[in-house]
Every structure is written in structure tokens, then in C-alpha cells.
């Protein structure tokens, strides 16, 4: 399959990827499959919320059961890890490993722009992750759980959410050009 972007990918990232349109169709059909079988979409931030809450529950059960946000996750002795999303993210791990293994793309590195120090990049990754984790809890989902799933099922709020992600990112991009360019 010819990919018009292959040459540029090679130059910018030293890799030839698949066409974004082909990957988009695979992703869209996967989402459609989830809706057709389970009546729900894809996600991932929820799985990490569950892992975090399960860990908190293991060290401080009383607190987890009383906190107004986490209480419902452990109600009646329920295990927060016993959830569809946890298995789905396990599948994501397998799919990513499969792709990287078959096409030989494992790469141990700290990915960043050419003018960025590794240490600074890791602090920014930690902070960016914090923002992402926090924001995804407030909005009850992330780029997949809200934007992709809600976008594909025409949920009005999810479309607004998606445009806000782009808005926030474009607003921040100029300030972080040293990290990437």
C-alpha cells in the first residue's frame, strides 16, 4: 500500500509508518466492533484511575471507602481492577508489543526535540502526565474514552471536549517549542 507520507516520516522520524488513513480505518473499525459487540467504546485513562485507586485501597482501605470520589469504586468490597477497561488496556499493550516486535521498532530512549535535555524532558513528562490524569478524571475520559468514543457515537459534549483538547494544546505549543523543535 503506497503511503504518500512515508518519505517525510523517514526524514523527520527515521521510520516509515503506515498511512494515517489506513490506521484511522483500522481504529474506526475497532471502535465500531466494540460498539457492535459491547455497546460501548474504547478508553484508557479510566484503567489508570482504577489501578491508582486499587493501589490506594491496598494501603489505605478506610480512606478509599470514605473519599467521595473513590468510594463507589470499592463499594461492597468490589475490586476496582475487575473491569472491562483493564482488559482492554491489556490488549493495547499486546497490540503495541506485537507491532513493535514484528516490524522491529523497540527503541530504548527518552524521546524529545534536538535542543532538549533528557532530565528536563522527564520532569515535563511527569508534569504533562499529571495534567492529563487530572483532566481526564474531571472530564470522565481522555482522547480515546471521550473524544474518540463520544465522537464516533455523536455525543455532543465529547465533540466540544475534543475541540478543547486541540485548543489547549495549540495555546501551549508556543511556550514549549524548546522541548520539541
Amino acid at each position: 500500500m503506497s503511503n504518500p507520507f512515508a518519505e517525510r516520516d523517514k526524514r523527520l522520524y527515521g521510520q516509515s509508518y503506515w498511512s494515517p488513513y489506513v490506521c484511522g480505518v483500522i481504529l474506526g473499525l475497532t471502535l465500531l466492533f466494540a460498539f457492535y459487540t459491547m455497546g460501548r467504546g474504547l478508553g484508557s485513562s479510566g484503567a489508570f484511575a482504577r489501578v491508582t485507586i486499587a493501589a490506594t485501597n491496598a494501603v489505605a482501605h478506610q480512606y478509599t471507602a470514605e473519599n467521595p470520589y473513590t468510594a463507589s469504586y470499592v463499594e461492597g468490597g468490589e475490586n476496582p481492577l475487575n473491569d472491562w477497561l483493564i482488559w482492554e488496556v491489556f490488549g493495547v499493550v499486546l497490540g503495541a508489543l506485537f507491532g513493535a516486535f514484528v516490524w522491529g521498532r523497540f527503541k530504548g530512549e527518552i524521546a524529545r526535540g534536538p535542543n532538549m535535555a533528557a532530565g528536563g524532558r522527564l520532569w515535563l513528562a511527569l508534569f504533562g502526565g499529571f495534567l492529563s490524569g487530572w483532566g481526564a478524571r474531571l472530564a470522565s475520559g481522555c482522547t480515546s474514552g471521550q473524544a474518540l468514543t463520544g465522537g464516533g457515537s455523536l455525543a455532543a459534549g465529547s465533540w466540544i471536549f475534543m475541540f478543547c483538547i486541540f485548543g489547549g494544546a495549540y495555546a501551549a505549543a508556543w511556550f514549549l517549542r524548546k522541548e520539541w523543535l
Partner: protein
Amino acid sequence: MGPLDKLGLIPEWYGMEIAVLAGFFFGLALERAGFADPRKLVNIFYLRDFAVLRVMFTAIVTCAVGLGVLWAAGLYRMELIYILPTKLTAQIIGGFIIGVGFVVGGYCPTTSVVAAVTGRLDAVVFLLGMCLGVVGFFVPFRLWSGLYEGVQGQILVPEVLGLSWGVTLLLIVVMAACMFMVAAWVEKKINKEDVFAQASG
């Protein structure tokens, strides 16, 4: 007839296999698109590479049109799926913060998983940050519980626009096509090269 699970057409324990299978292709699509590399992801915000836009909207169009066709053919009961409720304030603020986190950290949650398992240390740190963000959300939860709980309900785009499903889907397809054309034009200006001309020439 779908959704299979809601109609009781598959045993409950199949859910786990379906989850792993769907996740597998989800992860594979992201890895194959190059989304384990944060430079490929954030380049959309520097107007150099709109791969994120292309993958995202191709996927949304594929799914939305697919659901619409299955529904129109009587093969799908749309009223049985879980429509994400609209909660405007939370979605606007949350979306904006995730957007900032995307450029600061280089990933969104799912792409960080793909990057972490294919060897990127910064993605592992991003995942750790995400877990800390969850703690940072639920510990002082009372401070923003009002923001979190304000829900407008399950509202669909066709309802907001006052259009039928068919017309809405057509609009989305046209919008995606327009965005892809603008993206190609911007890339050409910024990178000073025409990938489509090179590919065919």
C-alpha cells in the same frame, strides 16, 4: 443484531476476550501510525505533521458512518448504547488541561501506553504522572465536586444541530475532508515540500 452484549446474545464472560481483542487492534493501529513517538504526535501543534488529525477523524468517520449504516439497516439498536453524558464545564476545562498536558508531556493517555511498552522512558514517567494526577484529583475532590457533577445529560450532535442523523453524518464527512485538505496545504507551506506530488511523481 447488535449491540450483542446488551441484547444478551453473548455470554457475559466473552466481554473479557472482546476487550483484549479490541485493545489489541487499538494498540496496533496506534503503533503502526507512529504514535509511540511523541515528536510525531506533537508535530500537529507545530503544523508540521497532521497525522493525529488524520487518524482521529478517519476513525471517527468510519465508526459514526458504520453505526449509522448498521442502524438504518435494522442491524443495530442505537438506543441501547451508552451515550457519554454532556457535562459542559467539566469537559471544557478537562479537555483544555489534557490538551496542555499533551504538549507538555508529549502524549495522551493511550499513546503513552503504546510508547511505554515499546521502550520509551519518558512515556513510563508520563504514566506515573497520570497516576499522580488521579490522586491529585480525588484527594481534594470536594473542591471541584460541583464542577464534576454538573451534567446536562445525554445529548447527541444531531439534536443540537436540529438535523437528522444522515445529514449530520454527511456534514461530518465533509468537515473531515475539508480539514484533511487544509492540513495538507498547511504542511506543504510549513515543510516546503509536497508529499503528494513526490509520491505520484
